[in-house]
Subunit: 207 residues, 2 copies
């Protein structure tokens, strides 16, 4: 069982990434050992070096992959946006739940390593989240009613929304797929976004 040499190599590389993702889910990236990963994959420890110069590079590859998944979520959110606030909110929560469900290894990785990971990993994740906030702020500026908002207020609202999304994602991960709490979490997320929208609509129209 195999194809060309490059295909085989790519397959082992994937196996390493998957094994690292699975093993780090039971604790953290920093608690990962090269030998553990190698054993899980089914190769000898030193073979690891054929794919990554060090464990740290493995970690960075995992961040990159996880951030790709995060960016895919953002793209999907933007793509599925409806017209009125209610459909935007319901749609967004649905998309969020679906994406977290389908990629909970990646989202779990981000949640765990955001504060506990090695410094470069933490930095990359926070950069990713900040970019998400900035992009959302731009989107928000195109919505009705935000025309005379300050740059700063847009960022603040965006940060609130992203924060609520992140918290919801973390809750979904903690609760586990198909758990009884899931419905309650999505309901709560919907209400949270509605409250935020109500706050936004009335912002600056009252003192």
């Amino acid at each position: 069982m195999s194809g060309t040499r490059l295909e085989q190599k790519e397959r082992t590389r994937r196996a390493i990434l998957d094994a690292a993702l699975a093993l780090s889910a039971e604790s953290t990236l920093v608690a990962l050992s090269l030998r553990q990963v190698a054993k899980e994959v089914g190769i000898v420890p030193t073979a690891f070096y054929r794919h990554f110069p060090s464990l740290e590079d493995l970690g960075l590859a995992l961040v990159e992959e996880s951030l790709d998944t995060l960016r895919a979520l953002l793209r999907e959110l933007r793509r599925s946006a409806g017209d009125d606030f209610r459909s935007i909110i319901d749609g967004s929560v649905g998309v969020l739940v679906a994406q977290v469900r389908g990629n909970h290894a990646h989202f779990g990785f981000i949640a765990r390593e955001r504060f506990a990971g090695p410094a470069p990993v933490r930095a990359a994740i926070n950069r990713g989240i900040e970019i998400a906030e900035r992009e959302l702020a731009v989107d928000l500026a195109h919505l009705p009613g935000t025309s005379e908002w300050s740059e700063e207020d847009l960022r603040t609202l965006s940060s609130l929304i992203v924060g609520a999304m992140v918290t919801t994602a973390e809750r979904l991960i903690t609760a586990g797929p198909g758990s009884p709490e899931e419905k309650q979490i999505t309901d709560s997320a919907r209400t949270q976004l509605r409250m935020l929208v109500v706050g936004a609509i009335n912002w600056r129209s009252r003192p």
Copy 2:
């Protein structure tokens, strides 16, 4: 240098806790070794067992301590609450910044271990945060304008506020004490809370 035997024991115990807190700040609790801690404290590895049965028990002691600090923050927030919304918000953000500043080892610990820590540690932290949300919901129910809110809506608003607070605390920790971002973070936190309050005030008064 020493007093009674119990005093001396307590002093070493504290030294172990402080060393573990300091060392785990550079990575995670799970990446901590008994020998590292012992070396940092200045005792021989096996002496560790005179104070804790295992590293896991050390971890649990640290969680307990950190959650105490969190509870102190909540108490202080409630104690300092003013009359009108503006003073409540400004006061709360001030208290939050001061407490995080004065105990960033504990708050940093909570942020890191909330998702990356060992299962019992994660559970304890999430329980602590949930209790904070519930208590805040009770406080909110006593505020003017929330008389006919449902239990569920109160919890949702409470969860939004706590979420914003947690995010702010995490930002303060990441930014570091006395950093230039600090002012921006506190300003942003104030605006966030104001937006949340505006949302709350207008909740259910519009459809």
